[in-house]
């Protein structure tokens, strides 16, 4: 089950990248995917039963919309900061709590904080996240988590746990 | 099309200025990282103007290689070995 999902993923990427209907193309794709699974198959810490639950996909689509809105907003805020004279910035590092446990969820949370308005992940430890903020408003961890993450961490907890 | 290429060359000139003038090594690395992403745009524009799909393959390979090279430069800057 676990290996089957990874195989479908790898073969799909292969078909999209090459994009042709040759029979030799199919055989090469299957061989390459099998080779990768034999070599690296044990290194995917993955919950196969999670892929069959539709509520996780719904939550992920919700996350995508929140992420897209935040990213477009971030770019306009950053354009304002770049273009105004004597950049209006007050940078600093704040620490916010982190209660996600799954590794994939942590990666996606860190990447979405990097693309969110004015914030930037610098370091990640077991239970906290160090964020470089370009205009520091508060240094209290809980309030900063409220202002930086918003709903993102809750939605990701719904998706991956 | 020529106008677009001239516009992107202006961006490349700014990155190169930062690479030459950066006060520390980290600034130069930021410039190199951004330069790698701008090369992807060049590949996409070449692919659109010539209609050849091989330029898109170059763009995908360039994005992966740029990522790995940035990671290697970051490890070098940390002063660690490349083994771990």
């Amino acid at each position: 089950m676990n290996h089957l999902i990874v195989f479908i993923l790898l073969f799909g990427i292969w078909k999209i990248i090459t994009w042709s209907n040759d029979p030799g193309n199919y055989i090469t794709g299957i061989l390459v995917s099998l080779f990768i699974i034999i070599v690296y198959g044990r290194e995917f810490p993955y919950h196969p039963e999670h892929t069959l639950q539709p509520r996780r996909y719904l939550a992920f689509i919700k996350f995508l919309f929140v992420f897209l809105y935040q990213m477009i907003k971030a770019n306009f805020v950053m354009a304002y900061r770049i273009l105004s004279p004597g950049p209006p910035i007050k940078p600093g590092v704040v620490k916010i709590p982190l209660y996600l446990k799954s590794p994939l969820g942590r990666i996606i949370l860190a990447n979405s904080i990097t693309l969110a308005p004015g914030t930037f992940t610098m370091d990640i430890t077991e239970d906290s996240l160090y964020v470089h903020w370009i205009y520091v408003v508060t240094t209290d961890p809980v309030k900063a988590e409220e202002m930086i993450c918003g709903k993102v961490q809750k939605i990701l907890k719904e998706v991956f746990e | 099309m020529i106008l677009v290429f001239a516009f992107l060359s202006l961006c490349v000139a700014m990155c190169v200025y930062r690479i030459f003038r950066g006060p520390r090594a980290a600034d130069r690395m930021v410039g190199i990282d951004i330069l790698g992403i701008i090369m992807i745009i060049f590949c996409v524009l070449l692919s659109l103007s010539t209609g050849s799909e091989w330029y898109m393959s170059i763009a995908i390979a360039w994005s992966i290689i740029g990522f790995v090279s940035t990671l290697t430069l970051a490890k070098f800057l940390e002063g660690r070995n490349l083994d771990d």
Partner: protein, 117 residues
């Protein structure tokens, strides 16, 4: 119609790439430069790739643009995170506006100075 959408996305993307490179020149410190350039250049390149996908549809070029878009959105923030961590370990301080109070208590780790070792 498709052509108009293509030109709109393309010009938005190129404008954001230009802004990102301008931020690379104007910001005062490594972390702010990383912020400005990573955000703006990632969205700009993503917009150019999306314009390519809209223009060419389900062909080889369009599908490769889609794969490149996914790779870019996964790789670019991770690379920036690695650079920021490396800059922090190598001992670069966060820039402060002259005259401001120090309000930055959180320190990721005792910074190691490479020159001393």
């Amino acid at each position: 119609m498709i052509d108009i959408i293509f030109y709109i996305f393309m010009s938005i993307g190129l404008c954001f790439v230009f802004l990102g490179c301008l931020g690379l020149l104007r910001m005062p410190d490594v972390y702010c430069r990383l912020q400005a350039s990573t955000k703006c250049v990632t969205l700009g390149t993503g917009s150019v790739l999306l314009a390519t996908l809209i223009k060419t549809g389900f062909s080889a070029i369009g599908m490769k643009a889609l794969v490149c878009l996914v790779f870019l959105f996964l790789n670019s923030p991770t690379a920036a995170h690695a650079l920021a961590k490396a800059a922090d370990i190598s001992g670069i301080k966060v820039w402060e506006k002259p005259g401001d109070e120090k309000i930055y208590p959180a320190k990721p780790r005792p910074t190691v100075d490479i020159d001393k070792e």
